[in-house]
């Protein structure tokens, strides 16, 4: 069996844009588990989570030839999964519940976050799924924090070192998990940390 050489994600994107099934499969296998876990966390239903991820990858496959090749595939995947999750929240069965949640949220004072920061936090939250996976499962999917390129991406985006990112993320996630339900302001403290 021929060994697949290691490509970085942008090279893979260029290949996928040309219809390369194998390149797509590599990215697919890498991101599927955490996108699924994120979607499941948002939708609370296995089938819907599967739908969201399926639609996300289908969108990605179909639109790859139109994507700016200088960008990171993961940014498209993370943005797309959010859109597909939101779209599924509109379905009749669960719509009422989410409309109510959003109404309640509107009452709270949630402040302002600019889009770029909101996206960065989304990246971190989605990737934190890896840390929440039981170790055995992580092995099965061959995912380790250091393999995910996005730490590097975040570091580049924020202009800080990769190790800083890793440390900050760990600390912030601990804090988030502990006090999220009490204070929504922590999201913004968290973002300040990343700065």
């Amino acid at each position: 069996m021929k060994e697949t050489p290691l490509y970085n994600e942008q090279e893979l994107l260029a290949m996928i844009a040309k219809g390369d099934n194998n390149a797509f499969t590599i990215l697919y296998k890498k991101y599927w588990p955490i996108l699924y876990l994120h979607a499941y966390r948002m939708l609370g239903d296995e089938n819907m989570a599967e739908d969201a991820v399926q639609e996300t990858f289908t969108w990605f496959w179909q639109h790859a030839p139109m994507i700016d090749l200088k960008s990171y595939p993961s940014s498209y995947l993370y943005g797309a999964v959010r859109n597909h999750v939101l779209n599924l929240m509109r379905s009749a069965k669960i719509r009422e519940k989410y409309a109510r949640e959003l109404s309640a949220f509107v009452q709270e004072d949630h402040g302002l976050v600019d889009e770029e920061l909101a996206y960065k936090e989304l990246v971190v939250l989605i990737e934190s799924e890896i840390d929440k996976m039981p170790p055995r499962m992580r092995e099965i999917f061959n995912l380790s924090r250091k393999d995910m390129l996005s730490h590097k991406q975040i570091a580049e985006l924020l202009d800080i070192s990769e190790s800083t990112v890793r440390e900050q993320v760990k600390r912030a996630l601990r804090q988030l998990r502990a006090s999220m339900k009490d204070s929504p302001y922590l999201i913004f403290v968290f973002i300040q940390i990343l700065r």
Binding site: M42, Q54, T58, L86, S91, R95, S103, V106, I140
Partner: protein, 381 residues
């Protein structure tokens, strides 16, 4: 926030048409949820779910920049002063059962493409024009009204001469695998689903009422004009529009005609019994022979088709597959009668290949579906 507001907000967000504040709100709420406490269950078969889904994705075509493709909405938003949105579903459908033993094949191999925009316009003089073939520009000039086709294939009527001659009727019809949209002389908008037809006058001027005749399924956004009521006639019923958005589903031959109102008010009259009811938004009337019942429904879901989606809230397999057979132009064969009554809840894009829907149906582990040429064979699992 009402459910409809929530629904529309998300649509704007994913469309890119939401305001800064709206995006901000959804972003914050979404992030808060994503960071939430909920324990994630890790299903045993994550790996196999992943492996099974991959070939279905790769079977799709990729989109290239030359072809204009990324439209989140299937239909553009028209500026209509005020309209009636209702769904009317009535007409004939085509499917038959066969007892031949077909060999089963993988659902993914031999997938079937969805329908597309297209229609046939039959002018009053009998001449037929196939809409997709005519290039943008004038199609015909008839009694003071200019009929033309826009770049994206929609038929537009413009009144060129108000005191024109006699009124003539055109019929716009779609076959299986086709759908279309037309803007009538008064600015009203009508979307036609597959296997449907709309007969309408080339001009409304000088007439007391604005009358059209529908077979199949149409979604209407009617321009307000209190002095000239708009009426939709189907074989079984008459819908008088008191101003707004509604869908009329008049497909089946056994006279089960559904009218769903989204906005405004309509009066639905049963032609054989003379019974009439006025609908409020969120209500649906079902006319069967001489009876008419009215119930509350998820109106937006009933018109999902005109937004490019097929949405089912507990619809029977039989009715779902009737829609599938019309849009995908396939025959549906059931090996077991009992499965026809099984109900499903899901939503898919009308631009997906048929395998997507079949996969969702099979997920319940109660039916199995196979594609054989242009037939879909469904059996009990």
């Amino acid at each position: 926030m009402t459910e409809k507001e929530f629904y529309d907000l998300i649509e704007r967000y994913t469309d890119g048409t939401a305001t800064q504040q709206e995006r901000n709100l959804l972003d914050c709420w979404y992030l808060k949820k994503a960071a939430g406490e909920m324990e994630t269950r890790f299903p045993e078969d994550l790996q196999s779910k992943m492996d099974r889904a991959l070939p279905l994705i790769l079977a799709n075509e990729q989109f290239y920049p030359k072809q204009p493709v990324i439209k989140k909405k299937l239909w553009p938003t028209w500026a209509v002063a005020a309209s009636v949105a209702m769904a009317v579903f009535a007409g004939s459908y085509f499917y038959y059962q066969s007892r031949t033993k077909d060999k089963t094949e993988q659902v993914a191999v031999n997938d079937i493409l969805p329908g597309k925009n297209g229609a046939t316009l039959t002018l009053a003089n009998g001449k037929k024009i196939y809409i997709n073939d005519a290039v943008a520009g004038n199609i015909a000039e008839q009694s003071g009204v200019k009929i033309s086709k826009s770049k994206d294939g929609h038929i537009i009527y413009e009144i060129t001469n108000d005191n024109s001659g006699k009124v003539e009727y055109n019929t716009l019809s779609t076959t299986r695998g086709e759908q279309t949209q037309v803007r009538l002389p008064d600015g009203s908008l009508v979307f036609l689903n597959a296997m449907s037809s709309l007969k309408y006058p080339t001009s409304f001027t000088g007439q007391e009422k604005r009358n059209v005749v529908l077979t199949g399924e149409g979604y209407f956004e009617i321009s307000k004009d209190k002095t000239h009521p708009f009426t939709v006639n189907t074989k079984e019923q008459l819908v008088e529009v008191l101003g707004t958005h509604f869908n009329v589903n008049a497909y089946t031959n056994n006279v089960d005609v559904k009218t769903t109102l989204l906005e405004g008010r309509v009066k639905v009259s049963n032609n054989s019994s003379g019974l009439a009811k006025i609908l409020d938004p969120g209500q649906q009337s079902i006319v069967t022979n001489k009876t008419m019942i009215v119930k509350d429904v998820e109106a937006e879901d009933a018109v999902g088709w005109k937004n490019g989606r097929m949405i089912y809230d507990g619809e029977t397999l039989e009715n779902i597959m009737k829609d599938v057979s019309r849009w995908y132009n396939v025959e549906v064969i059931y090996r077991d009668e009992s499965i026809k009554e099984k109900t499903f809840f899901f939503s898919v894009s009308r631009r997906d290949k048929v395998s997507k829907i079949l996969k969702i149906l099979m997920r319940t582990q109660t039916v199995s579906c196979n594609i054989d040429g242009n037939k879909i064979i469904i059996e009990k699992r």
